[in-house]
Amino acid sequence: MNKKRFTINEDRSLFPEKNAEGKIDIDLSSHKYLKLWQGPQHPGITGNMSLELTVLGDEVMDCETHVGYLHRGFEKLMERRKYIQCFPIVCRVAVPEPDFNEYCFASAMEELAGIEVPEMAQWLRTLVLEMSRLQSYLMWIGGQSGAFGSGIIGQWSIYLRDLVLDRFEELTGGRVYHMYQLPGGVRGLLPDGFKQRMEETLLTIEKFMDDIDKVMFNNAVFKKRSVGMGYIDPSWVNKFGITGPNARAAGIPLDVRKDYPYLKYPELDFDVVVGKDSDIYTRADIRRKDLLLSVDLIRQIFAKMPEKGDIKAKTPNVLHWKVPKGETYSRAECTRGEYGYYMVSDGTEYPRRINVRGPSYTHAVALLEKMIINTNIADVAGLMVSLHTYPPEIER
């Protein structure tokens, strides 16, 4: 049991030895090193990306991330689509979190066009964003425990996620791709009895979260594998552009909902969940608390939102909507951090440029490549899931 384990304070830069250029001399013909591809078809990897690992024994020496398996060219496609035609596209940028894309796209357009979204629509948007956060975390939590060998949590959490998707189906007409937050507003009021059914879903989630707490978080195996593992130094946060729970676990309270309040968040009562140990366990715990915070926020939204109201502002004819010249950046706090749309309009019916700023790009490429060095290959999947990255959003 003299396996090398890294603790928080150990200097990773000392091993393996670097040459004068600061790189490792990897001589594959020495039979000392082995190239190992993890992904793109690997159950332990999130989505379609792959890691080209160079291992020494079972320890990772070098890592190169490869993306491109899921490239759909959305940003370029959108330059050839009218604004309204981009609306069904944007939700597909990050598959498990369509709503943040819809919100950022719509709000960027509304800002450029100077459109005020009605009160009711703002509440409904806030609700949908929190529901989306809930289902995204539920999907993640199964992946996190699954990556460390516990399949049961995934069975529960995917069931819970389906309950939330049932509510999405009622409210938006779609389960996965909701296409609900249209530029100018939303596409429907709450159906009859929705609040009550949502409350039942929330109660079920809370009940199961108690069990998940017992089975996953108070679990010797999980703790053994996650505590002290995958450390992110607070000083990296700015350098690597780390946001969301990954930054909050490092003790830095970054949350767009508080820092740049949008929609109805200023009217909701909540505190940013912050951790301090910055390892896989802390990040998981932050996300668990954030999930429960979403449950609380949904209840607050139900209590505060009006019963009726306009769902959509008057907009120009969508078939030839010319958004005024200008550029803007609109952001929202998604489950993984800051999500943003940079939109440039040249005053025509087509967007000149739309750039999607997804947190997965910074987390899964640069940060992962750095963190993965010197980990055991058995921990790679768990480490990657703990960053909560979605490859479709890296590639767009």
């Binding site: 309204i84 007409g173 069990d211 089975v215 078939l319």
Partner: protein
């Protein structure tokens, strides 16, 4: 390591006895009420406007011809075909549908081994979910992807206009016009219906983009009288406008007027590029300077023909000038359109009645071809007892005399017989004159047709009432009561139906319901007849006539006498836009005929 962390995970075992949550039969699971499932289309309501095809970002929708659905005014005859290999179920097609015919059912699964069945025409290819009520429909209320309400036109108030002949419609401002133009969905249903097939979506786009020159050029491609048409066109385009199915139709007429109003007379030639047209040495005579004659003259002049118009009156314009009151169509606007056509080298010989001052045979000799657009100027009489009294007038005669500035007889109590636009014109003109003369209005318009099928434009009826005229439709006149050679009034009986089952004019009356309108002057406005006495017998022998005495012409408005082309109200209509279309088509026909002859 705590002992609790070792024992705690075993609590998972309690779930062994929990009820399973899996759906046992996923095929019969029902979608939510709003679920975006498979497409349905109410094929009878759908007009094939293709807006769904336009908005679909996946190109999943194709408009295809469907057996049993004919192309007609207001219906392209096409229906959407959906390809589920491309559809992303965003339902924007449903939200944007102009007729609300498209919707989605909440069906969840559709399994088939044949891939081709997933490309289908909803509503035509019958599906299990066609009668499913639930599923995605356009959200309600206050959810529109384009504005359904028309930008209101500013008009003079009834009190401001009921004494004067000042133009009552003020026209759109730039902002209003752009807002109205924004509502267009560019389906093009209007193009097919417009007799002149004007490029309506294109010039509306020009308004939207504030490109007046482009819009002006578009107007002149098919219509050389935009100022006139922009005011008094019967706007069949608006009747069929797809936006009108669930909202107000586009104000196509006012937008046309907006473009024409923005251009000054002196800029016309510059914008249209009509300076220095080469003369081809051929001469064309045109009889009558109404819309068809002017339209033919315009397009012939552009082709290089030397055109001369023979006009019976001392001013050009025909019915547009002598039949339409000034408050609807000011004379300076007529002149603006006509002066441009004259500036292309078209000559007009006024006060020359063909058949009297000059014979048609002479024109045949002197000119390469002749176009006759002499219109319908003869009033038709009801021929009821008493209709030969001197105080029974034809509307066309009175309207002409008002234009000519003659003093006409205006009685204190007037009844107008007729329910068309001409009847409304004379009613409203007489109301103004009564107001000027007596300070009060007492004119009643009565028609055979009940209010819902009155041929007059709806706004004409409304505005007549605003001007305190009485419109009392649904009565058939029986006799005019005359006592001591003075008209006492008009006896009418209830008209129960105007047309028979085959759609022919065959009015039925209920003799037990009668009414008496007191009046000391009666105006008949029940249609007009044509006067083609100028066509001599030997020419007529070369021509063909239908059993009702109407001239038969071919697609190019060429009559049996090959050199004689006939168009306008005597062939089609009666209205301005048909005349313009006829004139344009005849101009092409004349060019073709002369080229083939040479």
């Amino acid at each position: 390591m705590k002992l609790k962390d070792i024992l705690s995970p075993f609590t998972a075992w309690k779930h062994v006895v929990r009820e399973p949550v899996t759906i046992k039969d996923p095929f019969s699971r029902e979608g939510a009420d709003r679920y975006r499932g498979f497409h349905k289309n109410d094929i009878e309501t759908c007009i094939g406007c293709g807006t769904c095809e336009d908005i679909c970002q996946n190109a999943a929708i194709d408009m295809v011809p469907v057996e049993g659905i004919e192309t007609k005014d207001g219906d392209s005859g096409l229906r959407p075909q959906i390809d589920y290999g491309r559809c992303c179920w965003c339902a924007l097609c449903v939200d944007v549908c102009t007729t609300n015919s498209l919707s989605l059912s909440n069906h969840f699964t559709w399994v088939d081994e044949d891939a081709d069945v997933f490309r289908f025409i909803p509503g035509v290819d019958k599906k299990d979910w066609d009668n499913e009520e639930r599923g995605w429909k356009k959200p309600e209320p206050n959810y529109e992807l384009y504005e359904k309400e028309r930008v209101p036109m500013r008009e003079l108030h009834p009190e401001e206009r009921d004494k004067s002949f000042i133009e009552m419609v003020k026209g759109y401002s730039k902002e209003e016009a752009e807002r109205e133009a924004d509502r267009c969905v560019e389906c093009g249903i209007c193009i097919a219906t417009c007799p002149a097939h004007m490029g309506i979506p294109e010039y509306i786009k020009a308004v939207r983009e504030d490109n007046i020159e482009e819009g002006f050029k578009k107007l002149y491609e098919t219509n050389p009288l935009p100022e006139i048409c922009g005011r008094i066109c019967t706007h069949k385009c608006e009747t069929v406008c797809s936006v009108g199915h669930t909202g107000d139709p586009l104000s196509i007429r006012w937008l046309k007027r907006y473009i024409a109003d923005q251009v000054e007379s002196e800029d016309y030639k510059n914008i249209l590029g009509t300076d220095g047209i080469e003369n081809n040495g051929k001469k064309i005579a045109i009889i009558g300077s109404g819309p068809s004659g002017l339209s033919a003259a315009h397009y012939l002049a552009l082709m290089g023909y030397q055109v001369k118009i023979f006009e019976a009156f001392d001013k050009a314009g025909g019915m547009m000038r002598y039949g339409i009151p000034e408050y609807r169509l000011p004379y300076d606007q007529i002149d603006k359109d006509i002066n441009y056509i004259l500036s292309l080298g078209v000559e007009i010989q006024y006060n020359t009645k063909v058949g009297k001052d000059v014979s048609l045979a002479d024109l045949e000799k002197e000119y390469d071809a002749v176009f006759a657009g002499t219109g319908l100027h003869l009033g038709r009489s009801t021929r009821i007892p008493g209709s030969d009294h001197e105080n029974v007038y034809f509307a066309t005669d009175l309207l002409r005399e008002i234009t000519q500035g003659k003093e006409i007889h205006v009685a204190e109590k007037i009844v107008v017989i007729g329910g068309g636009n001409v009847a409304m014109d004379i009613t409203r003109s007489l109301a103004r004159l009564q107001n000027q003369k007596y300070g009060k209005v007492d004119v009643t318009a009565t028609s055979l047709e009940s209010e819902d099928i009155m041929p007059a434009d709806r706004e004409e009826i409304v505005e007549s009432r605003e001007e305190k005229a009485i419109v009392d439709p649904g009565w058939g006149p029986t006799s005019i009561e005359i006592e001591n050679n003075k008209i006492k009034g008009l006896h009418v009986q209830k008209c129960t139906s105007v047309f028979d089952e085959e759609g022919r004019f065959n009015p039925k009356f209920d003799e037990s319901q009668t009414k008496f309108f007191e009046a000391d002057m009666i105006v008949e406005s029940i249609g007009q007849g044509m006067d083609i006495e100028y066509i001599s017998k030997d020419i007529r022998e070369q021509m063909e006539f239908d059993p009702r005495g109407r001239i038969i012409v071919d697609d190019y408005f060429q009559s049996g006498a090959k050199w004689l082309f006939v168009g306008g109200d005597i062939i089609q209509g009666p209205d301005v836009i048909h005349g313009i279309a006829n004139g344009h088509r005849a101009a092409i026909g004349i060019d073709k005929y002369l080229n083939e002859k040479a």
